[in-house]
């Protein structure tokens, strides 16, 4: 009945690899002159790595108990709309001609970055007191 809490190594590695693959793909598409077929291929390469990340993350979250899942769900409920808000703001600024170097596509890493403070905010909703007695 004992639940073994899985480490975050799997999803962290998968996330880093997926992120790096995406950055590399973007860099190649911006700086190389390739035939159309190759450009499509390079653009799609990060896809399987992100699928790997999703499965690694789900596997990790399934090792959580119900309370830990609640905290993760709460944190995602903060991080996801926050990233959308950021995307909407950047899009509006772009339409207003204020932001030219940033696009909505540059916002997605912030979802991962915002997840950490969101996790902290979510866990503060359930204060822990004495560790034991």
């Amino acid at each position: 009945m004992t639940r073994k809490h899985g480490g975050a190594t799997g999803p962290v590695i998968a996330g880093i690899v997926a992120g790096l693959t995406s950055l590399l793909s973007s860099w190649i598409l911006r700086h190389s002159i390739l035939p159309t077929e190759a450009r499509v291929l390079v653009a799609l390469v990060p896809g399987p790595f992100f699928v790997w990340f999703i499965f690694a993350e789900l596997r990790w979250i399934r090792t959580f108990d119900e309370f830990q899942r609640r905290v993760v769900l709460d944190s995602l409920a903060i991080a996801f709309p926050s990233a959308i808000t950021l995307g909407v703001v950047i899009d509006a600024l772009q339409k207003g001609g204020f932001v030219t170097t940033w696009g909505v596509g540059d916002v997605w890493p912030f979802m991962a970055i915002l997840w950490l403070p969101s996790l902290w905010i979510a866990s503060r909703r359930y204060p822990r007191t004495r560790v034991d007695e």
Binding site: D65, T129, E133
Partner: protein, 66 residues
């Protein structure tokens, strides 16, 4: 929701970690349940009741205002 988890655990001289291991949850989960900051699912509440050999209502009690 109020509960008698801390008392029942102390009677058996179990730590939060001991109880967590027996229930297959994290120690933090026992901590927040004991302190009334998190209400367990029905499934976990029944697991707790089974572990202590008591009915659920003998361990968990709805707050007066709830």
């Amino acid at each position: 929701m109020k509960n008698r988890l801390r008392v029942l655990r102390a009677e058996r001289d179990w730590t939060q970690a001991d109880l967590a291991t027996r229930l297959g949850v994290a120690r933090q989960t026992i901590n927040v349940i004991e302190n009334g900051h998190y209400d367990p699912s029905l499934s976990l509440a029944f697991d707790i009741a089974k572990l202590f050999g008591m009915p659920v209502e003998a361990i968990f009690e709805r707050d007066a205002g709830g």
